[in-house]
Symmetry: none
Subunit: 252 residues, 2 copies
DNA sequence: CATAACGTGAACAGTTTTGACCGATTTCAA
DNA sequence: TTGAAATCGGTCAAAACTGTTCACGTTATG
């Protein structure tokens, strides 16, 4: 194996796992720790990754883990299911607004086949398709809210007031019969603009969001066309939502 | 087997495997290491592949001249030097516009200590600081231009017309006494807006850009305050630029 | 047929890369 | 805070690799 190939492998392995120890990497490419250390120094200088004590971390991972890794990964299956189910609601060549959030991120993953036009303020979603070709992706401007990778601020709001889309795929912190709430006040204005810009509004909410109320009110139920959730959502609240003419899809 | 046929087989084999060692290639075509080495030298000159220590790598279409690749170690030392030197020109807490491009990406890496406010249309730069905290980062909106990770289009232009910054750190495809040129027409409008928005305009240009002319004219020399380049820049052109009251910094 | 031109493989001296070692530094837990 | 363990960068000899040179056989050319 050539040095070049080894570096390439190191980087793509790190792309997969986000973080790896020196020993791990060394075994992976069949070279000594010293060599791996040297390679990492070069690769870090090149920019794609950052060295840490005992290993290295990728800078812009294309994996789900981005900034969300700290949050609950045990509901991953449900979020995946929601993602798949929601993606089915979207037709080919439609324009889709994608909110920032872990759940809707999983929707974005399943949209490639539809060759959609995506508009988003989520950096992880943007990274998902920044290299590929089939998806046309518009990123709103804004200030990066650290760790979440969300673009916020007036620039972001403005971007969504100027456009029109077929569907908005939204996330939120909680839903009750009184309406939808979210945790970050900063996001409210942006989300309202997203919903105004879209002909159809879909909320992706896993079961933990049902009956919960976050700090900032976002909108009442009349604005919502469809909700996609997982099989553990409380049946009573689901039924009540359906009574109010909201299509509720339970993924499983 | 003729020499011509051998070269062809080398190239197509590399097309398959991306990387290969000299020994590997030599066995593959049934010629000595020396011969393969000579063949590779010729093929490299013809383009299409790149020799590396101990073997060769094909130039994948993905990493063509304009594609942004963090693992692009081509002229890395010089770009690093330029990055460091340019970062020194920027004071603490200044607002900095950062263009999209591999060279200026390396400037961004060295700005963290200055706790600057960065405004950029480059996705890789944004990813660099999306997790950290010390840098306030504003991303312009726009359509993602695939491969490069640049945000383009009216949304991007507009973002830069509304702001004001202390410095703009720019890149380009070529520079002559007649002015600066760039390869993508799409970028011109954005770059012009960036330069208008900034009190000081710095261009980061490695030596390969000197005397070269790309397709689209960007601006003439009067708009430029400072140029940062590497030690291999042609001295004559550097002197001529200085005569025109442009500060030229040679990093090394 | 003689000879020059060329491609090939091997040998060689210089350079780069590699793996191991070591003292200094950082991290982690007590 | 302190001490042990892990990890770091720097150094060095060995190994691998590089470009160059040279001898040898093959192929054009007068």
């Amino acid at each position: 194996m050539t040095a070049e190939e080894r570096k390439h492998r190191l980087e793509s392995y790190l792309q997969e796992v986000e973080f790896a120890s020196l020993e791990d990497l060394s075994k992976r490419v069949g070279a000594s720790i010293s060599t791996v250390r040297r390679d990492l120094t070069v690769l870090e200088a090149a920019g794609g990754l950052r060295r840490t004590h005992g290993g290295a971390r990728i800078i812009s991972p294309k994996s789900d883990e981005f900034a969300f890794s700290a949050r609950d990964t045990h509901q991953l299956d449900q979020k995946e299911a929601i993602g798949r189910a929601c993606a089915q609601l979207i037709g080919s060549n439609q324009s889709v607004i994608i909110d920032a959030g872990t759940t809707v991120y999983h929707v974005a993953k399943y949209l490639e086949d539809k060759s959609p036009q995506i508009v988003t303020n989520s950096l992880p979603v943007a990274n998902l398709y920044s290299a590929a070709g089939r998806v046309e992706l518009v990123l709103s401007g804004g200030v990066i809210y650290p760790r979440l990778g969300v673009l916020v601020g007036p620039l972001a709001v403005e971007a969504f007031t100027k456009i029109h889309a077929d569907v908005a795929v939204m996330s939120a912190g909680g839903i009750t019969l009184e309406g939808v709430t979210n945790s970050h006040g900063l996001l409210i204005d942006i989300q309202l603009a997203m919903m105004r810009a879209a002909a159809k509004v879909i909320f992706c909410l896993d079961h933990t969001k049902f009956g919960r109320r976050s700090v900032s009110p976002l909108c009442d139920l009349s604005r919502i066309h469809t909700i996609v959730t997982d099989s553990r959502a409380p049946t009573e609240l689901v039924a009540q939502l359906r009574e109010r003419n909201i299509e509720v899809i339970v993924a499983g």
